[in-house]
Symmetry: none
Subunit: 401 residues, 2 copies
């Protein structure tokens, strides 16, 4: 019996409510001057009070030493083994912009880039062109006609767009065209299996026609494709946990991810404050809320320790509005670590706080990596987060007699 | 290689002895006035001394968040993955009363219940009728004759009885007749596969004949059936670990469980004191003892914090008689948590203490949830308890060269 079968057989629908607050990239590394991580340096009286009443721990998003992308790390938090449910970036981008992905669709993530006269990539992100400009270029590309496939080109943000080919027999077993560094040309897309030859031909036809269509556009005069993938249709959160789930996320990819697992993706403003207001407004309508906070990760990726501290403190200041709702279970965690020191996602375990009337309180009296290390939940796989949330919300029946 | 194959290949028979003392439902939750759990509130000088000399930890009976029944949680402690060895309540009840279950037997757990004139259940436990009364009603039911199956009706305790149908082709793929709450009628037993149609017919024939036979009995005027199951014949403790195992348990279900895995179930009196006396008396005859203490769980199920504390203290007072035997390994743990605050089994990890000359002593100087959290065994699956016991008894050879 898989974990999901176990959950399906034990989960019951009750009025109790769960709020899963994910501060993207929450985990950090110590700064030299005082050895404090971003979370430890932040003034977080509200989180500390919850830690004192609740139970803490540390999660491994996948396994010790493994650094996850945002897709796998969120899937793990929702209980999906990210190795089993390997969802491509293309699918996530397409879902993130609200595209209705269908059975025969092959999705990819596109970047506008800049190439020189010899076709060598000089900027993989085309100077992060403005989103409005990008949308205009996407409209131009959408006019391309391909043999054997329909085409959708969907602006995402700045230099990024989603690409969908619709047609029979389009396998996703393809190499990527992004050379991953400047000074190289875009690579041709190659089929990794005989069944993917049609898809490779379609993708390369698109790239060549895009090159022609963009030759006079500056700086976005070429495209790079990554993350070819098809909709995996995993079981939904409702099927597995008998929850009525809502997602509150400003950033497209997380909206897409939530939609993929069957969450109702709520309309919301773009700041954490807007998101919390959405939670308050829609609190009566669902029993599970995934609330995604992006600025912590963005600051970490930019290597900006102070900005990450400020982003954490801003969330802390919003917490009283969430606790006033008195959710039966409130979890505060991250999807992975993004230490400012590394300017990147990392493999370090992620602080995890669970607050509920039914938790076995531990010695943690603040929310920090150090306090979580001695916490009552110990160190555990992120895929156990949902079973723990369900248990503390009294939404799981006993296994066996 | 499965865990059992590993154990089978490494286990050796030696004169060393292991005592596994299980206080049922040991783990608890803090009480409001001082934040202490039942185990923390209990005065346990002997356990504390063992904790100081030994090594502690916390087990997950199955997995984080999963609340086990008594069957699965004990199987896990004996090293059997409870998801693989899914043993039905009916089988456990029948074995628990000493019934010699055979290959063609289909067992179920029966409850006497009370129904009103319209056939709606008004009390699922028939007022927990006295065991003597229940035995008398069982004798009445045992006279029922069924087409295609022999019938055994075995009183267990109060309103509970075990039911065994013996005949060819009796599958256990059946739904239960217990509606799980009052105000509903008993449900018909339905076949979950075509192969179970005969079994469903036999079960429903029994229920209808029981209804007639009991119509003038008060308050036990109807039966509810649950846990249809057949003997699973798992590998025995002796086969896996090369142990000569004995079980000392007053309560029928635990006797049945021990018999199921091939333990020699010893005659014993019903109190923990009687059970320890049995251990002392039979100590020379076996090298593994499973000693089961029920009152801790009963008190937790009744929501009686103080009685659970007293039950733990009573076991502590008996410990010198056990340590005087100088077992090579003494483990004190629970099968799961039963916090008085929840009046039920729970998912919280379970305190675990291992005492042996060969343990790596940790900082724990008392036996409590909090001390175990920082203990040297860390947090581990209960299925690892037996390998740890075997190792500390020097009963496992090295793997590989």
């Amino acid at each position: 019996m898989s974990n999901f079968e176990l959950m399906k057989s034990l989960a019951i629908s009750t009025p109790s409510k769960i709020v899963l607050l994910v501060m993207d990239g929450l985990g950090g590394l110590p700064r030299p001057q005082d050895g404090k991580t971003e979370l430890e340096a932040a003034r977080t009286p509200n989180m500390d009070a919850l830690a004192a009443e609740g139970v803490c721990g540390l999660t491994d998003p996948m396994a010790p030493g493994i650094t996850p992308g945002s897709g796998p790390s969120h899937l793990a938090l929702f209980g999906y083994d990210p190795v089993v449910y390997d969802i491509g970036r293309g699918v996530l981008e397409a879902l993130g912009v609200g595209f209705d992905l269908q059975q025969n669709d092959l999705a990819a993530r596109g970047n506008f880039c800049t190439v020189d006269d010899g076709g060598l990539v000089t900027d993989r992100r085309a100077g992060r062109i403005a989103s409005e400009k990008s949308a205009e270029v996407c409209r131009k590309l959408a006019q391309i006609e391909l043999e054997g496939a329909q085409l959708f080109v969907l602006p995402v943000k700045e230099h990024r767009f989603a690409l969908v080919f619709r047609g029979e027999g389009l396998s996703d077993e393809l190499t990527e065209s992004d050379p991953q560094r400047t000074g190289l040309p875009a690579a041709p897309v190659r089929a990794l299996s005989p069944a993917a030859q049609k898809a490779a031909r379609v993708a390369n036809e698109f790239v060549e026609k895009a090159r022609s269509a963009l030759q006079d556009v500056q700086p976005a005069n070429m495209v790079l494709l990554r993350g070819f993938s098809r909709h995996p249709h995993p079981p939904t959160v409702e099927e597995i946990y008998k929850l009525k789930p809502a997602a509150i996320a400003a950033y497209p990819m997380y909206r897409g991810l939530a939609k993929l697992v069957g969450m109702d993706v709520l309309e919301t403003g773009s700041t954490p404050e807007d998101e919390v207001a959405t939670l308050v407004r829609r609190y009566a309508d669902f029993d599970f809320f995934f609330l995604h906070i992006k600025p912590t990760d963005s600051a970490g990726e930019d290597g900006d320790f102070a900005r990450k501290v400020a982003a954490i403190e801003a969330v802390d200041a919003l917490l009283p509005r969430i606790t006033a709702l008195q959710p039966d279970v409130l979890i505060i965690t991250g999807d992975h670590s993004t230490p400012a020191a590394l300017k990147n996602h990392s493999w370090h375990p992620v602080p995890f706080l669970l607050h509920s009337p039914w938790c076995r309180t531990d010695a943690a009296i603040e929310f920090s990596e150090r306090a979580c290390l001695g916490g009552g939940l110990g160190r555990f796989r992120a895929t156990d987060a949902m079973p723990l949330a369900m248990a503390h919300a009294l939404k799981l029946e006993k296994y066996g007699a």
